[in-house]
Chain length 129, copies 2
DNA sequence: ATGGACCTTCACCTGCGGGGGAAGGTCAAG
DNA sequence: CTTGACCTTCCCCCGCAGGTGAAGGTCCAT
């Protein structure tokens, strides 16, 4: 299967496939006599997996780790479980950070909404921020 | 004041100050006879303002807009209020996105925690993701 | 034989906010 | 006089996941 067909089936671009190959997430496919990449059909499973990983917010490096384990002939379940736990912790951290920021911005906005332009000192640029 | 002194007072690096100047957030200062940047003290207020803006999650471009208004001789209160409102909406959007992602990842993690490696099909890479 | 759709590699661009380090000028103290 | 701490400009680098475009080869149909 040529790269364009494979990309279409996976719902990705040809650029992305070459990028995954460069990053080691896709094995270098055999080439047709004309030099075109010639993918075996099962690569589609791999691309679907990469997409599922992306959808879970995993980085390509993390997805690559899982693929490496699988390629080494082992079931990556344990590693996947760990990565998902890490990802949950990371998401909780990010959400907490954003919520804290939101609280601060909301307080600033409260002040700014009742702003009196005449009370502003040009030297401070803006007293509501 | 030399760039290093100003940077130290503002709690920033000299690199950052030159970067802000390049981005138009800081006016090009006069130069001492030796070519060194020579800042007037009031630039410190401007740097403090930039930091307050960054702390509120504003981009340098947004902060630059506010500074432009102030430099045009107007009180930027209204513009600041708008930007803070935008920022609140953006934060709410990001938080909602992360929470949705967290829900999905948590569901995957639930499954993976009870994973049975023998039930995995190598073709799918990992059935828990 | 010619057009268009596909493929190849290569190198650079995006957003965001700077950081790293080279190569050289300047200044004060010892 | 030399050492070390500053300063200058310059260009490249990071993460992240690709996207963009150039220059050229290939394949299929008309």
């Amino acid at each position: 299967m040529k790269i364009g067909e494979m990309a279409a089936m996976a719902g990705m671009t040809t650029k992305a496939l070459r990028f995954y190959e460069e990053r080691g997430l896709l094995p270098a496919p055999t080439r047709s006599p004309n030099g075109y990449r010639d993918y075996p059909p099962e690569v589609l499973n791999r691309l679907d997996f990469i997409r599922r990983g992306r959808n879970a917010g995993l980085t390509l490096a993390q997805i690559g780790e899982i693929l490496d384990v699988r390629d080494a002939g082992q079931a990556p379940c344990h590693h996947v479980e760990e990565l998902l736990a890490d990802q949950l912790a990371e998401l909780d951290r990010q959400i907490a950070d954003l919520r804290e920021l939101r609280t601060n911005v909301a307080a600033l906005h409260e002040g700014a909404a009742a702003a009196d332009p005449n009370a502003c000192d040009a030297g401070d640029i803006c007293r509501y921020l």
